[in-house]
């Protein structure tokens, strides 16, 4: 039924010629932009995101919201100066403008109306770019530092228009009703399912010669359930699916079964013990292994330097360095590759052939033999790097930064699950705990309620979100669920302490943003798709603390 509904969808006819006509007309005029005693734009770039979106949410089997329709937004970027020194990559004081603006566009294909929106946005962006450049020059005045260039040159890309399908809300409504309906009658306090599907294209037209239609699309479904332990602790779990389009979602029965398993786990957790302060080996399996790598590794492989700040905002210490070539990140023999084009061929979330800046996606061998050898790059230059690797993406009007898209992590000598558990138990023997802690799931940053971790996200050493599914594995094979866990003092260095790893599993889709605190603010259904293929890993020693509940509800559940 699910498949049939989606197959019945007609193709929408994109309004390619109207958008191109409007953007080209205004691009031609914008070359005349001049402010007195200020440089003219040397680069103008228009991104018109055009598509169809459906977003729905249901609670315990009943819809709470539904929304469907076209979405069309314009992003204008104006750069003044030149490739060596322009207004970009500089973050002025709060409230100061930049050379990038964004405006919603009318949905009707009216060249004049579109042109007027582009005209207003371009004017604002040019003025913002001029102010941003002056702020940057003022900040550099008297500086003893040397500065690299501001933008890589790229070959212009010209492609044919693409088509996309309509995104009806009804199948998603049915899906979230059904999935959230499975949460009824299980003693859950909260039970909701939400879904969003997006299909469209990004039209990139620039003064550099880009005339490219870049297809985009994803579907994300999340199911969240909350219950309470006997001591009042709030127990929460989330199941997420991120795929290329709604038709690529798993069969409903399979999704339902996963939701049922999540609820079974949560219900069982109500009477589970609170883990005390744990110090010992930890085995990360499945989704938890993905989160471990995604949260600790992304900043280490993304090469975009941080935004330059006014000296008063930096302090004496300067800005903290992030990714570094030559750093040992993983054990000997390990490799990390990001290959969006291959993922595109395989129909995976995060796959694409051209990034948001019109740069063809490259396969990048990031980590070889455990050491960082290359970095993902957008068009923002970095010393020692030759150019963009086609990984420039970001949300909204943010600077296009290198973002992992389709990461595959291969361990040196993968072992089976049994070997990992056995080794973990052996490592646990000399500790105070006669068991191995196995973490199977952790909160995705997008829906994390752990604000401490969220606010630590800007630096190079972000923490890890809380485990939502963890158990003690005893030497006799007994498994005991535990709850209330949080990681203590975890950073990228723990990746070097991986003792053993399993085989790299199939890629899994996630919604993400550029490394940093943005990842925690994208919302339940927001972000950009990516996929990660990672192995289960055993880490020799980690510290976790447990916290019991504080308050029980007064009223019995109806």
């Amino acid at each position: 039924m699910w498949t049939l509904l989606l197959l019945g969808v007609a193709l929408a006819s994109p309004s390619s010629s109207v958008l191109v006509q409007a953007a080209e007309a205004e691009l031609a005029r914008a070359t005349d932009l001049r402010l007195p005693d200020s440089p003219p734009p040397y680069l103008l770039s228009y991104e018109l995101l055009d598509g169809q979106v459906a977003s729905v949410e249901a609670s315990f089997g009943a819809l709470t919201s539904t929304d469907q329709g076209p979405y069309r937004v314009l992003r204008v970027e104006v750069r003044v100066g030149d490739y060596a020194l322009d207004n970009g990559n500089f973050e002025g004081s709060f409230g100061e403008r930049s050379g990038t603006t964004q405006r919603l566009l009318p949905d009707e294909d009216d060249v004049l109306a579109l042109r007027r929106e582009i005209w207003l946005a371009t004017d604002e962006a040019y003025k913002g770019a001029t102010e941003q450049l002056s702020g940057k020059l003022a900040a550099r005045e008297g500086s003893t530092r040397s500065f690299g260039p501001d933008l890589y040159r790229v070959e212009p890309l010209v492609t044919e228009p693409v088509e996309w399908g309509e995104v009806p809300a009804e199948p998603l409504e049915e899906l979230v009703r059904e999935l959230s309906g499975r949460l009824v009658g299980r003693g859950l306090e909260e039970g909701r399912a939400s879904a969003r599907a997006w299909q469209g294209a990004r039209l990139l037209i620039s003064s550099e010669g880009h005339r490219a239609w870049i297809p985009t699309g994803y579907a994300v479904v999340r199911v969240e359930a909350v219950t309470r332990a006997e001591d009042g602790a709030r127990l929460r779990d989330v199941r997420s699916w991120v795929v290329r389009d709604a038709a690529s979602l798993p069969e409903r029965e399979q999704m339902g079964a996963e939701v049922d398993a999540m609820v079974d786990w949560l219900v069982g957790l109500q009477t589970a013990p609170v883990e005390g302060d744990y110090l010992g080996p930890v085995l990360f399996e499945g989704p938890a292994a993905l989160e471990l790598f995604r949260q600790l590794l992304a900043a280490e492989i993304s090469g975009t330097p941080p935004m330059e700040l006014p000296p008063e905002d930096v302090g004496e210490g300067g800005q903290v360095p992030t990714a570094r070539i030559g750093r040992r990140l993983l054990p000997l023999g390990w490799s990390v590759v990001d290959d969006p084009a291959r993922a595109e061929e395989e129909g995976l979330a995060g796959g694409y052939t051209v990034d948001f800046e019109g740069v063809p996606a490259q396969r990048v061998e990031l980590v070889e033999d455990g050491v960082v050898r290359r970095l993902l790059m957008s068009r923002v230059p970095r010393q020692g790097m030759e150019g963009s690797t086609g990984h420039g993406r970001s949300l909204g009007s943010n600077r296009r930064e290198a973002m992992p898209a389709a990461v595959r992590i291969e361990p040196a000598r993968p072992k089976g699950e049994g070997r990992l558990q056995k080794k973990g138990l052996r490592l646990a023997r000399p500790t105070l705990q006669p068991y191995l802690l196995v973490v199977e799931e952790m909160e995705p940053p997008a829906v994390s309620e752990d604000f401490q971790v969220a606010f630590s996200g800007e630096g190079p050493l972000p923490g890890l979100t809380r485990p939502t599914r963890a158990w003690r594995l005893y030497p006799d094979g007994r498994r005991e669920p535990v709850r209330g866990l949080s990681f203590v003092g975890v950073d990228r260095r723990v990746l070097r302490d991986i003792v053993l790893a399993g085989r790299t599993e199939d890629p899994v889709g996630v919604m993400d943003a550029a490394p940093g605190s943005q990842r925690f603010g994208i919302g339940t259904l927001g972000g950009l798709p990516a996929s990660w293929a990672v192995p289960a890993v055993l880490i020799g020693e980690l510290e976790l603390s447990g916290s019991p509940g504080r308050e029980q509800r007064v009223l019995k559940m109806p």
């Binding site: 932009l33 089997g61 949905d107």
Partner: protein, 575 residues
């Protein structure tokens, strides 16, 4: 004397105990069972009974659901967006523990900055599925109850630590339970017709080169408020708000951004202007933007002025209306301009002021501030605020103040906020009035008498704001769209820009000299501590002997550097 003033705290307590007993009486059966009400009532009754066994049981519990359907379309530069049809429901729980004389809602004096107890809102599905609704409400009541008990501990301690309040009134007053289940009408709209209209009106601006940006939108919001309480109140109150709005903006050569916004509010689509009137509105807005762009800036000035009806209405809403909201009279952080002035003159003797939410229309115009019951389930009442210039009463929620023991149906809130006394339809009327021509003649006479170079006419306004607290100056700011200079020598009036009308309440009221026989209606939304609520104000043109204007906040950007792209049919594009 206001009969409410006869109610003392003791009587209030007795009456409330009586109403608490009513909670055990089931309300009369609904002839057409409403699944939402059934679910809400079931959980309210269950929770109420269970909580009565707690050491600190609630003495009042109210559940409210705001059901909203918003259909809208907007256009810019002659092209439209997509017709939207959005639906949402938000649930509120209001729960009181302690006693009517002292409960958890009492304001903590000298509280820290972030000490407010978060309010519990609950998720309500847009589909009437009883189990899901009940679960959401259960969480809402439980969260509210635990928060209320914690807050009551703080309230009691605060009461012990602080000196006695100037106003020692109780925290809650009795009110009879209300049952009214109004049928929800089906409001039919033709999406294509509205889409065509906003597109056509929006295209008007393309022929005005000085208009840089513009928007025409139509929005119809069908609300149904559901209120159920432990006292037995059961209300289902449908109400529609429809707005056709037209806005345009430009940047003057000196960098001042100029926005003109015109709109028509109504209670049904039938209240909206027809095609011709809509197009005329668009042309008028475009022309006003064009004229304002060329208009000179007026310097800060003190002198006589006429506030035309809508400007006068907003002026009264800001300056008088907010200062007669009941809760401000016992909040010692408030300026309390009028707290001790009951029975004393506060306005010229020829002026009366009432706030009357029961009034649906004035002179054929639907009033935004009309409602049948307030957000505490109390029937709306007409309140005489000022009679012949003498202050008579305040707008009351169920939070009593000294001398005013009961609600007059003015507790209002945006969903998610705690209700407080707010304005509905504030109506200013004049016992003696003159024609507008005569009012202008009197203005010119004032200009001459004061030796001023000109007087001002505040033609229309976008809105305003006021500070009612003690920390900031107790001032107001009314933001006009267009202001005209009127000269004593017979020169034509001159449109000027760049000023806001400012002042302080008592001084300004003393200078009102006369009113015209024309009244105008301002419909809008008012934002205050209980969120945004729809309001109206009705007033005649007023002559004020002396007003003060200050320079308006302004941006400094140059106008767009390139000329706008223009339609091929109007003018060759300038490159």
């Amino acid at each position: 004397m206001n009969p409410a003033r006869l109610l003392g705290p003791a009587l209030a307590l007795t009456a409330l105990l009586g109403t608490a007993a009513l909670a055990r009486t089931l309300p009369p059966p609904d002839p057409e069972p409403d699944p939402l009400h059934l679910a809400l009532q079931a959980e309210l009754t269950r929770a109420w009974e269970l909580l009565q066994a707690q050491p600190e049981p609630p003495y009042w519990l109210q559940v409210a659901v705001m059901d909203r359907r918003m259909r809208s379309i907007q256009a810019t530069h002659g092209a439209t967006g997509t017709w939207r049809d959005d639906r949402g429901r938000i649930g509120d729980v209001d729960l009181r523990v302690g006693s009517p004389e002292l409960d958890n809602t009492r304001k903590i004096r000298d509280a820290g900055w972030f000490s407010d107890v978060p309010r519990a809102r609950f998720e309500v599905p847009i589909e009437d599925q009883g189990g899901a609704i009940q679960l959401g409400l259960w969480r809402g009541i439980d969260d509210s109850y635990r928060g209320a008990v914690r807050q009551l501990i703080r309230v009691r301690a605060n009461d012990a630590v602080k000196v006695e309040s100037r106003d020692s009134s109780a925290d809650f007053s009795p009110s009879p339970p209300q049952v009214e289940l109004r049928a929800v009408p089906s409001v039919e709209l033709d999406p294509q017709a509205w889409t065509d209209l906003v597109r056509e009106a929006s295209a008007v601006f393309l022929s005005y080169p000085d208009v840089h940006d513009s928007n025409v939108s139509f929005a119809a919001e069908d609300q149904v408020r559901h209120i159920l309480s432990s006292e037995g109140t059961r209300l289902r109150l449908p109400q529609s708000f429809v707005r056709l709005s037209i806005s345009a903006s430009t940047t003057a050569e000196d960098g001042m951004r100029l926005d003109v916004y015109d709109y028509v509010d109504g209670a049904s689509p039938g209240a909206m202007p027809d095609r011709e009137k809509t197009l005329a509105m668009a042309h008028a807005v475009a022309q006003r933007v064009t004229d304002l762009r060329k208009a000179p800036i007026v310097d800060p000035y003190v002198g006589p002025a006429i506030l035309r009806g809508r400007a006068a209405a907003v002026f009264f809403h800001e300056v008088l209306g907010h200062r007669v909201e009941g809760h401000r009279q016992k909040d010692e952080d408030e300026g309390q301009t009028f707290t001790d002035k009951v029975g004393q003159p506060v306005l010229p003797a020829f002026l009366d002021v009432v706030d009357d939410p029961t009034l649906a229309r004035v002179g054929g115009v639907d009033l935004n501030g009309h409602y049948r019951y307030d957000d505490e389930g109390v029937a709306a009442q007409r309140v005489s605020v000022v009679e012949a210039g003498i202050l008579r009463g305040f707008l009351m929620s169920r939070s009593p103040i000294q001398g005013f023991g009961t609600s007059n149906g003015h507790a209002r809130r945006q969903p998610g906020a705690a209700p407080v006394a707010r304005q509905g339809n504030l109506i200013i009327s004049a016992r003696q009035s003159v024609s507008y021509t005569e009012l202008r003649r009197q203005l010119i006479a004032q200009v001459r008498a004061q030796g001023r170079p000109f007087g001002l006419v505040f033609d229309d306004i976008t809105g305003g704001f006021t500070f009612t607290g003690r920390v900031t100056p107790n001032a107001f700011n009314v933001q006009p769209v267009s202001v005209w200079k009127v000269f004593p020598d017979g020169r034509p009036d001159e449109l000027v820009r760049g000023v806001d009308l400012i002042g302080t309440p008592l001084t300004t009221f003393e200078r009102i000299l006369a009113a015209s026989d024309q009244v105008d209606v301002f419909n809008g939304s008012c934002g205050a501590e209980s969120g945004w609520v729809p309001v109206a104000a009705v007033a005649p043109d007023l002559l004020v002997a002396e007003v003060e204007v200050q320079r308006k906040e302004k941006a400094h950007d140059r106008p767009p550097l390139l000329p706008p792209p223009l339609p091929a049919t109007t003018k060759a594009e300038v490159r």
